[in-house]
C-alpha cells in the first residue's frame, strides 16, 4: 500500500504510475481509463485496483482495437471527459497513430481553438529485455516531431507520478513515455496534486554536462558517479519533457560546462540525440570547449538474444567514454 499525504514512500515506477492515476481519479470524476486488460491491471500493474476503486464506467477494458480505442479516447476528450489510453508497448501504438497524430494533435489548430483534446496516452517504451524487435521500440522522436502534443519521458517513480498528475490537468494531448527498463525500479515518492514537470538538474557537476531523459537519466547519473571517483564532476540534466522542449534549460546547462553529451535510446539518425545536440550546439557554440557528442542506440531492430540486445542501448560505460572524450578534448 502506498502512503498518502506528504509522506515519502519507496515505490516502484509502475506503482507511482498507478498511484498518480488513482489520486487524479479521486479528484476529478471526468477521468476515465481505456485500454487492454486494464481492469485486471495486466501486465505491469499500472492500473491495479482502479476498477475496484472507481467502477466499470471509469475503467474500461477495450478489445484489441488500438485504432478505435485511440479514436474513442479522442472523441471522449473532445466531448468533455479526460481519457487515459494505455498502450503497453510502443510497437502497438503505430495502430493508433492516425487518431493520435492526425486527429488529437491537429483538431485544436484546424478549428482555431474551438476543439480541445485533453487526452493522455501512456505508452511503454524501450526494451523490457529479450522481447525482440516489435515489443522493444522508442518512438519519442516521431511523437515529439509532431506539433500539437506534449511528450514526457519520466526518469523515476517521482517523475512518473508528477508527469501523470500534470498531464491530467492539461487541456491538450499529452503522451507519457514510460520506459519499461525502469518500471520495477524503486524510488522515493512524495505526492503532490499540482507538480511541475520541467527540465531539472539530477546531479551537479562542473566538468561536463549530460542531457538525458527517461531511463537515460539514471544511466547518466551512475556513469557520473564512476567518473567522480576519477575527479571528473558531471552535471546530469533530466529533460523530462521532450515536447515542449525547454531550449533555455538546455542552453544554460550546455553553457555552464561547455562540454556536452546528449544521451538517447533511439537511432543516431533522425533521433532525439541529434536534435538535442543540434540545439545545444546552436545555443552554446561560442563557449563550447569541445564538440557536442551524442550517445544513441545502435540503428538496428532490437534483437532477441540477450547477448546482442546488450549491445544496442547506451550503458554507463558508453556514457563514461563519451564524457571522457569531451572532457579530454583539446583544441589544436
Amino acid at each position: 500500500m502506498i502512503a498518502t499525504g506528504s509522506l515519502v514512500e519507496e515505490v516502484t515506477f509502475v506503482e507511482a504510475v498507478c498511484a498518480a492515476q488513482r489520486d487524479a481519479m479521486a479528484e476529478d470524476d471526468s477521468i476515465v481509463l481505456l485500454g487492454q486488460d486494464i481492469v485486471a491491471g495486466f501486465p505491469f500493474g499500472a492500473t491495479k485496483g482502479l476498477a475496484e476503486a472507481f467502477g466499470s464506467d471509469r475503467v474500461l477494458n477495450t478489445p484489441i482495437s488500438e485504432s478505435a480505442t485511440m479514436g474513442c479516447g479522442v472523441g471522449a476528450a473532445v466531448a468533455g471527459l479526460r481519457p487515459v489510453v494505455e498502450v503497453d508497448f510502443a510497437g502497438f501504438l503505430y495502430l493508433g497513430l492516425d487518431q493520435l497524430l492526425n486527429n488529437a494533435a491537429k483538431m485544436r489548430y484546424m478549428s482555431s481553438g474551438q476543439i480541445r483534446v485533453p487526452l493522455v496516452v501512456r505508452v511503454g517504451q524501450g526494451p523490457l529485455g529479450s522481447f525482440a524487435a516489435q515489443h522493444s521500440q522508442s518512438l519519442h522522436a516521431l511523437l515529439s516531431a509532431t506539433p500539437g502534443m506534449a511528450v514526457l519521458a519520466p526518469s523515476d517513480a517521482q517523475s512518473a507520478y508528477d508527469c501523470i498528475r500534470w498531464a491530467l490537468k492539461q487541456q491538450d494531448p499529452v503522451v507519457v513515455c514510460e520506459d519499461l527498463r525502469i518500471y520495477r525500479a524503486k524510488g522515493p515518492l512524495r505526492r503532490s496534486a499540482a507538480p511541475s514537470v520541467g527540465a531539472r538538474q539530477a546531479r551537479a557537476g562542473t566538468d561536463a554536462t549530460v542531457l538525458a531523459y527517461g531511463a537515460g537519466t539514471g544511466i547518466a547519473a551512475r556513469a557520473a558517479d564512476r567518473l567522480s571517483r576519477d575527479g571528473v564532476e558531471v552535471q546530469v540534466v533530466d529533460l523530462v519533457s521532450l515536447a515542449p522542449l525547454d531550449v533555455s534549460a538546455i542552453a544554460v546547462a550546455a553553457r555552464s560546462t561547455g562540454r556536452v553529451v546528449c544521451l538517447a535510446d533511439d537511432s543516431p539518425f533522425f533521433g532525439v540525440g541529434p536534435t538535442i545536440a543540434s540545439i545545444a550546439t546552436c545555443e552554446a557554440w561560442d563557449v563550447l570547449a569541445a564538440p557536442v557528442l551524442t550517445v544513441s542506440a545502435k540503428p538496428v531492430p532490437a534483437p532477441y538474444s540477450e547477448r546482442l540486445e546488450a549491445q544496442v542501448y547506451p550503458t554507463e560505460q558508453s556514457v563514461e567514454v563519451a564524457v571522457r572524450q569531451v572532457v579530454d578534448w583539446v583544441e589544436d
Partner: protein
C-alpha cells in the same frame, strides 16, 4: 406522437424547411465550385451536389444537444446544422472570420457552438471519434446522440468496424451514416466492396441497420428520427443512404469523370432530391422559386463578404497548437 412517413409528407412546414436547407446547400456548393475557378478558394473543394437530402434529412432530425462529425465533403452537413454560410464561405476563402479561423479550410469545418465537432479528411478517421463522443454522452448521462458521416470509400477501413464493435459492446448513442454516393474517387462500390454492403455488415455487430433512398429527404428524415430515437436509448445503428455526387470527386476531377458515363450521371439527375421533395410535398413553382431566390441572395452575400474579409494575421500561425 411520432408521425408516419405519409404524415411527414403532409407536413408542409417540415417540407419547406428541408427544401430550403437543400436549396441552400446546392447554391452554396455551386458558388464554391465557381469561386474555386475564379481563384477565391485555394487547395481543393469537394462539393456535395446531388447528396443534399442525406445532410438535410439526417441533421434535420437532431436536437441541439446532439453532435455531428463529418468528412472532407462536409459543407452540406455544416449548412444543415445551421453554420452560417458567411463563416463557411470565409473559411473556404481562408479568411480569419471563417468558421475555423482560416486554418482548416474546406476539409476542416468546425462550429462547436452548434455541436458541429469537425470534419476529418482521412477517410474513416472520424468514425471512432464519434464512438468516443457517444461514450462521453453516455457516461455523463447527457442524453445526446452523435451522428458521424462517412462515404462508401470508408467502408473498407478496419477502424470503422472496430468502432461498430465498440458501439455494439458498450451500447453507445451513435448513428453511423454511410453516404454511399457510388464512387470512392474513381472506384465504383462494386469493385471495392465485397458482399452486400455496410448496412449488412453492421448486423454482424448486433447493431441496427437501415438502407434508405438518399434522394428522398423525407425518407431520410423518417429513418433518421427512428435511428436517433433508438440511439438515445443505447441502440446504435448504421444508416446507409444511397445517393450520388453529380460532380467530380474534387476540383481536380472533371464533372463527369473518366470512370463513369454521362448517361449514368443524367439518370441520377432525373432523381434529383430537390425536385423529388417539391413533387412529393406538392410545393408550388412559385414557392420553390421564392426559396431559390432567397438562398441565392444569401450565398451571393456570403461570397461577397468572404472576398472582403481579412486573411489571418501572422500571430495565428503559432496560435492553438499546444498549451
Amino acid at each position: 406522437m411520432t408521425a408516419t412517413l405519409d404524415g411527414l409528407r403532409a407536413d408542409s412546414d417540415l417540407a419547406l424547411d428541408l427544401y430550403e436547407t437543400m436549396a441552400l446547400i446546392r447554391r452554396f456548393e455551386e458558388f464554391a465550385y465557381r469561386a474555386y475557378e475564379e481563384g477565391d478558394i485555394s487547395g481543393t473543394v469537394h462539393v456535395s451536389i446531388g447528396q443534399e437530402a442525406v445532410a438535410a434529412g439526417m441533421i434535420g432530425a437532431l436536437e441541439d444537444r446532439d453532435k455531428i462529425i463529418s468528412h472532407h465533403r462536409g459543407h452540406g452537413h455544416a449548412i444543415a446544422r445551421g453554420v452560417p454560410v458567411e463563416s463557411l464561405m470565409a473559411e473556404l476563402c481562408g479568411r480569419s472570420s471563417g468558421s475555423s479561423g482560416g486554418k482548416g479550410g474546406s476539409m476542416h469545418i468546425t462550429d462547436i457552438e452548434r455541436g458541429f465537432l469537425g470534419t476529418m479528411a482521412v477517410v474513416g478517421s472520424a468514425v471512432p471519434i464519434a464512438a468516443g463522443v457517444a461514450l462521453a454522452s453516455k457516461l455523463k448521462g447527457a442524453g445526446g446522440v452523435c451522428v458521424v458521416f462517412f462515404g462508401d470509400g470508408a467502408v473498407n477501413q478496419g477502424v470503422v468496424y472496430e468502432s461498430f464493435n465498440l458501439a455494439g459492446l458498450w451500447s453507445l448513442p451513435v448513428v453511423f451514416v454511410c453516404e454511399n454516393n457510388s464512387y470512392a474517387i474513381t472506384m465504383p462500390v462494386a469493385e471495392s466492396t465485397a458482399g452486400p454492403g455496410v448496412a449488412a455488415r453492421a448486423r454482424a455487430f448486433g447493431i441496427r441497420d437501415y438502407v434508405v433512398d438518399g434522394q428522398d429527404v423525407l425518407e431520410v428524415y423518417d429513418t433518421a428520427r427512428r435511428a436517433v430515437e433508438h440511439a438515445r436509448r443505447g441502440e446504435p445503428s448504421v444508416v446507409e443512404a444511397l445517393t450520388y455526387r453529380y460532380m467530380g470527386h474534387s476540383r481536380g476531377d472533371p464533372p463527369h469523370g473518366l470512370y463513369r458515363v454521362k448517361e449514368e450521371v443524367e439518370a441520377w439527375r432525373q432523381r434529383d432530391p430537390i425536385a423529388i421533395l417539391a413533387a412529393r410535398a406538392g410545393l408550388s413553382p412559385a414557392a420553390a422559386d421564392e426559396i431559390t431566390e432567397r438562398v441565392e441572395a444569401k450565398v451571393e452575400q456570403a461570397l461577397a463578404y468572404a472576398r472582403g474579409a481579412a486573411e489571418p494575421g501572422d500571430p495565428a500561425l503559432y496560435r492553438d497548437i499546444w498549451g
